[in-house]
Amino acid sequence: MKDLFERAIGAKISRRTLLKAGAVAGAATALSGCTSEPSRFTSPVVESNVKSFRTACPRNCYDTCGQIATVEDGALRSVNGDPLHGYTQGRLCVKGYTYVNRTNSPDRLKYPMIQEPRGSGNWRRISWDEALTIIAKKILDLKQRYGSTLPVALDKYSGNFGILHYAVEGMFQSMGYYTYALGTPCWPAGIDATNYDFGVFQCDDPESIAQTKYLILWGQNAAWSAVHSMDFIRQAKEKGAKVVVIDPINTATASQADVYYQIKTSTDGALALGMARWIVDNNLHDKAFLDKHVKGWPEFEAYLKREVTLEWASKTTGIPVDGIIELASGYATTRPSMIWIGYGMQRHTNGGQNVRAIDALAALTGQIGVVGGSAQYGHLVTWGFNYHAMSMQPPAGSKGLPQGGDAQGLHGGASAPLTYTNRTVNMNNFAAEIQALKDPPVKMLWIACRNPASQDPDAADIKRAFASMELVVVADHFLNHSAQLADIVLPVTTHFENWDVNVSYWHRWMSINEQAIKPMFETKSDLQIAWALSKKMNELSPGSCTYPTEGNEEEWVGKEFNEGIYKLFGISEWRELKQKPAKAQLPAAIWEDRKFGTPSGKYELYSEAAAKNGLPPMPTYVGEMVAPAEFPIRFLTPHPQHGLHSQFQNVDYMMQTNSEPLLEIHPRLAERKGIKDGDIVRVFNKLGELRLKARITRVVPPDTVVTYEAWYKDSKFNVNLTVAAIPADMGKVMTGNNGIAFHDNFVDIERA
């Protein structure tokens, strides 16, 4: 580098260029959305420090872990379990332990972005103001054209179950009457079944698993999807309990059991009825309990004696007769005995009916209201918040779906006042129904805490539904399959970046979720988005949105609490949760008073309510869906270990641990099809197809192939390309719509 400076003096470069450089660089600084100061930098005032915060995992998961987030100088450094949480006991799960990697992923949505045209992949960054302006203008435009905000539809579910996330529903309700997806794809058949049987959707304290002497995990893969319960199972085992798993797949949970029964998929009701028949024949049923607390016992007994035999149950379920006897005998004679009914098990056309048959076993043996007994499914008892975040009402004069009143002026003269309501579509038949809506049609879609392009059946039809919209907005953390189909993506905070409060649908604990770090990049929580959008709506059209335009998130957590919650949890002030999670003060055996919420006040083996809804009144056997001749192989797509639906698996760390989906095929089936381990297999039916690598294994039945549903980074892989929106038998009563028979999916396979 000789004569560097001399040569520099002689360098041909204009002063103008050098001056321009500064100006251009300065202009670029302003464009990046930095402060109005000329530089991004300022003089430091903050001291470096390490702080801990109480957070709660807000995912759709039994365990809803208490967490401790450690933050160093405003950066999330580690996330561990909260030792003061009585159910999760200071531990997370494999997904929870990737939270630092997930929160700090360079692939996170950072800024509002727009894709023009939709689906082109030509994304560019826009400011929040621009994004909200486009959105608000579209809403106001639709309202003007159609006379209401019914053309705006919301699809939201369980991506984040923190209570403040109901701000999304609140945001739309405060603009007018709107269209929304009603129902739940997850567990509704079993909820209705529980409701027909017990009359109230509740269950025993799952910590009482530790007190049981005989545990049946029925279609329940707790080792993967409710891992903290394994400690209570361990405690029971150490006291001599026997653990039994019934599942079509020899799961990780089955590997921890004393006995594993591989049942023919969707025939669980037949097994339960076979067990019931044996129990009755051997006089092991609790006659006193049946007489006093159960409605319909004589009718049910007659059915069992008339139509149920062990041979029939064995033929239907594929479990040998002596296996059924072993199971029935163990369950009926080892007391207390408990059954944990899994959600996967009821994702069938006869799912609800099967749950009723299993519930019946607990009634038959008088083990309802007994600690360590019962048939467990789930509850919503701890969810009695104010839902203040969605308490705002439509602006006066808003129109929606007419209800009541004199809608058509038929009586002439002074008519009764007309009221309006929101319009719903079936969440479990979303693609078809949203496209079919008229008067008015749906023209705008908002997706939050949901990923229909990955999770809904008939992924191809979801794509068509999105394509038919004038505007699609997706609020999320990553560019998942739904976000890829959006016009605008809005970057949202993780739970470490916002305040919230969380409870579980399984255990009885409540946890505060303190904000641990500031929102990264330009992320906002769903609540902050609601405030901001309301502000923009009212700027453009005063009075068009009644949602508050600002607030304090921590204070809004406080607004969710009421006397009922305080009494239930035995706290006097919600800020006490900052010291530790609280547990609902309920009897461990929730039915200890044997007072049921059914019309008869008893456990109903015979339910007139079910009959009124076109269902069998008793838990009689309803056959499983039969494979069509053309597609003889069942394709099960249960929940994975490394992800929760389309969350977590896409994170780099998880991709290293588990890099690709595998199709699990039994060696007999593989041989018939000429498929070897590692071959690429085409899985197909009328709806669509997938290609993935074969894994030959005996953990799956010979007539079934299995792969775990997930979103892999940068992959188009989606099991729901082959899954049709077949409804489960129940769910409408308690959740608005019947469930989805995800596991009644039939395909054929061939080497690709």
């Binding site: 580098m1 560097l4 251009v24 991004r40 300022t42 100088d73 950066a75 630092v100 692939d107």
Partner: protein, 189 residues
Amino acid sequence: MNRQFAEIRLALFQLLQAAYTAPATPELAEALREVAAVYLDLVERPAPPLGLPDGAADVAEFHRLFVGPGALVAPPYESVYLSTEKVLMQAETLAVREFYRSYGKELAPDHREPDDFLAFELEFYAYLQTQVHGLEAMQRFCTEHLERWVPTFCERVITATRSPFYRSLAEITREVILTEGQVLTAIAQ
């Protein structure tokens, strides 16, 4: 160091910082082309020719490479290259923050982006040029930070980009950073 050379260097780092902050304007590209060509000639390094950005295509490419919304091709953050976890906000980020602090600077409060974002590191580096005892600081910042990751980042861009403009930008950036050590030594003498 003479004033002309100092001004060329300052302009260069300011322009590079701008080029990683937002999609390049034709104005920026022209200024950078001229300054980079002159500078790389002075320091006797190959000077990749820098064209003009290709309108909407390069706007999209800028986002695809550095911003999102999809998985980033070349995340412009030091910790992604140097930390064991290869994510944001790691110990490396806090070390950069500490470096800024020790020279009297910190990101403005409403900046919720990692301190080790390339444009921030370049802006800070440009700032050091204007400081009286900046040379020692620059030598440290270059050795401890810029040199350790920016060339790898540039290689990732070069391999993965479809854009001639962004390929040239990355090549120029790599040349500049790879030579910094020598140049600073020459200035010191």
